[in-house]
Symmetry: none
Subunit: 423 residues, 2 copies
């Protein structure tokens, strides 16, 4: 079964917005068993949208459109779809009431243009969108399906998850396409591949696919298997067995099974071990704390943190000895350890992590170039620090350092936090 | 002049890679005066690539392809292009020598597969790529042009900048195509549209285009104008005049001109006014600090922050009166104001901002539901607090509250920070 993605919007063509929607949809549709035939980005023009629909329907079983459903004058999709499918726009009163409730719950004035968002093609099944004011539209065209969704990513994701993916599964006989992900950290893609070399070579004969998905500071490994939907349980068993083998081979580099991130893994370990955590961030600037607090329930284990950008904050809030900053510089082993120890003491936590580095683009020296980051973990048995170089791009340095310091903490807690500690 | 972008690669279709190349190319081509007719993502298959070429050439003056130029078996683009243009692959010795030098300079073994990357179509102009081993290819087909580039982003960017864009400008007579962006915050898309309704209706007759680009907590507005390249100055004047009108109409909701974000705007104002800033975050959990420190040079104005997730951190680090927490709760006006005042005092800054809210999904009550956030700004004249409800999704609540508190601070600094302040 083939599916085409059509992304509508001049902002995508002129590069003002990166098309993350198509990537999200491609990933989730592939997991559902679809073959993504293609992605097309077209302008907000009736001709371009109609041409893309013609092309999409010619060689695919379904076409998913995003974008052009806002309340403003440049949003044309529903008008184009009504004409394409030979129907007219009618007022859907229950949708209008829903939009009005959406505005009222936010104390935002409900305008006539918003009410007009409930004017939708008569022949489509309206897909409710509780996350916004633009509804989804489901058209059946012979044995093919066309779906239109808003372009706002989280609204599209909500509609896909709760409406479109389940309806597509019910409408089409999709094959089973099972995937399992294991998250690893602290090891690069090629080193990881070398570690599992022999096993990986044995996978194709078992019908198992393997993909490495590297991102700054971690590598996700995705195992997949395809087959008739009736064989789902058997296929899952086959997959589970290989996941177990991989996790043994990757050993201490495994953060966890499932598409989780390292912050969630750390919070899980803290929760099961009864530990608490504080952060002391210089170069990561609040990013570690933000990663932790993005996880629901973080407040059970994460007490808080200090973003010690200025040296006065390092000495005043974290009790770093000003002489250490003078003697060794803020980006140094003594300072980063003192930051972690200071945060742990001040917040009364079991654990604390700290970062201090040169995020760039300015501030690098020959001895301490852009990308050099010191990281420390402090725990019941003392503190330990590590130094890494994380490339030259500010955003990537911050992301890699944030993930890496959480990975060190993860290993520490998992191993009881005792071995190899210096004071 | 219309141009089509074709991105080749299964990794794009299954969502393993986000198509940032198309956005980069779209932005730069638009600035050069091109109309980007469309973007197509196709799989690594000869039929898909040929079909995309047919479609691209049918309705565009040029087609730019990226991807499929690596040394491995799944890289088919040059073979497909040779066949498409009825030519054959020949060894380009000077390119082979360049690739060999590239490997030798990196102490990486030069393999036969790498030498084969210099086998390129006889009829094309080879575009040298000093950043990698895959050359670009420039084909002329009647009065149309087809260019093939590698998919590695920085190699594509290098080829575009130094070879493709200059050659396209020399080959085609491109018009002027000018854009200006204004960032607004604290107002929704439809309310903003209502505010500028009459003016917006007058734009088409002046040849000015307008687009709204909403994201959580802000709406970017993009004005555009097109015309003959000789009229560039006149067109820029026309655009500037309308940007001025829009900025007056949108008034205090304007964050700034240009494709900037609110954190960059705040840092810019701080820098020009000589002010410094501290943050005290509860529900935003470090996100405000992370937004600020993502901007290069943030350390000049941003001293640091406290992520006061636990109440003990609020009282211990920010001098919040424990009785206020008992009497009013942590999510309250007195506490959020005390947090901002405490952070400002402790870090000795001109300004401080604070957040305290219910990020959910748990912890909501009837009186303080999920999404309710108190925000405060403290400055030389005292502190002021506001309360908002930001929906029900944790990530969006954090993002909207972070942008909103920065927006309040922005307004404060812009207006001298004096009027309407309570103590």
């Amino acid at each position: 079964m083939r599916i085409q993605i059509v992304s509508i919007g001049d902002e995508l063509l002129i590069g003002q917005t990166v098309n993350t929607n198509a990537a999200w949809m491609g990933e989730h549709l592939t997991l559902d068993g679809w073959i993504v035939g293609g992605v097309e980005v077209v302008s907000d023009s009736p001709e371009a949208i109609c041409d893309a629909l013609d092309r999409g329907l010619a060689s695919n079983d379904a076409v998913l459109l995003t974008g052009g459903l806002g309340p403003t004058k440049d949003d044309l999709t529903k008008h184009v779809l009504a004409e394409y499918f030979g129907t007219e726009l009618v007022m859907h009163e229950e949708i209008a009431a829903g939009i009005q409730a959406w505005f009222e719950s936010r104390n935002v004035p409900f305008l006539e243009v918003n009410r007009l968002q409930a004017m939708l093609p008569a022949s489509c099944t309206v897909l409710p969108n509780p996350l916004g004011t633009a509804s989804g539209m489901w058209f059946e065209h012979g044995d093919k399906v066309v779906v239109s969704m808003p372009g706002v990513p989280y609204e599209m994701e909500g509609l896909m998850t709760h409406e479109v993916q389940p309806r597509l599964k019910a409408h089409f006989a999709l094959p089973a396409n099972l995937y399992e992900t294991v998250v690893t950290a602290g090891i690069g893609e090629s080193s990881l591949a070398a570690l599992v070399d022999t096993w990986e070579a044995s996978l194709p004969s078992k019908g198992i696919s393997l993909a490495y998905l590297p991102s700054p500071g971690q590598v996700k490994v995705r195992l997949g298997v395809k087959g008739p939907s009736g064989d789902k349980e058997e296929l899952q068993g086959l997959l589970d067995a290989e996941v177990e083998v991989f996790m043994k081979l990757a050993g201490r580099h495994v953060v966890g099974r499932g598409n989780m991130d390292i912050a969630a893994a750390v919070l899980g370990l803290l929760s099961s071990s009864g530990g608490t955590l504080a952060t002391a961030e210089s170069c990561t600037g609040g990013s570690v704390a933000a990663m932790l607090t993005a996880i629901p329930g973080a407040s059970a284990s994460f007490m808080g943190g200090v973003v010690a950008y200025d040296n006065a904050v390092k000495t005043g809030f974290l009790d770093v000895d000003p002489r250490d900053i003078v003697d060794h510089g803020a980006v140094s082993e003594p300072v980063v350890k003192a930051m972690a120890i200071g945060a742990r003491k001040a917040m009364g936590t079991t654990w604390a992590i700290a970062t201090s580095g040169v995020a760039g683009p300015g501030g690098g020296t020959e001895l301490k170039p852009v990308g050099l980051v010191w990281m420390a973990v402090a725990g019941p048995a003392g503190a330990k620090a590590w130094c890494h170089r994380f490339g030259a791009q500010r955003a990537r340095i911050v992301q890699r350092a944030s993930r890496r310091v959480l990975t060190y903490l993860h290993e520490f807690i998992k191993n009881g936090g005792l071995p190899g500690l210096e004071d």
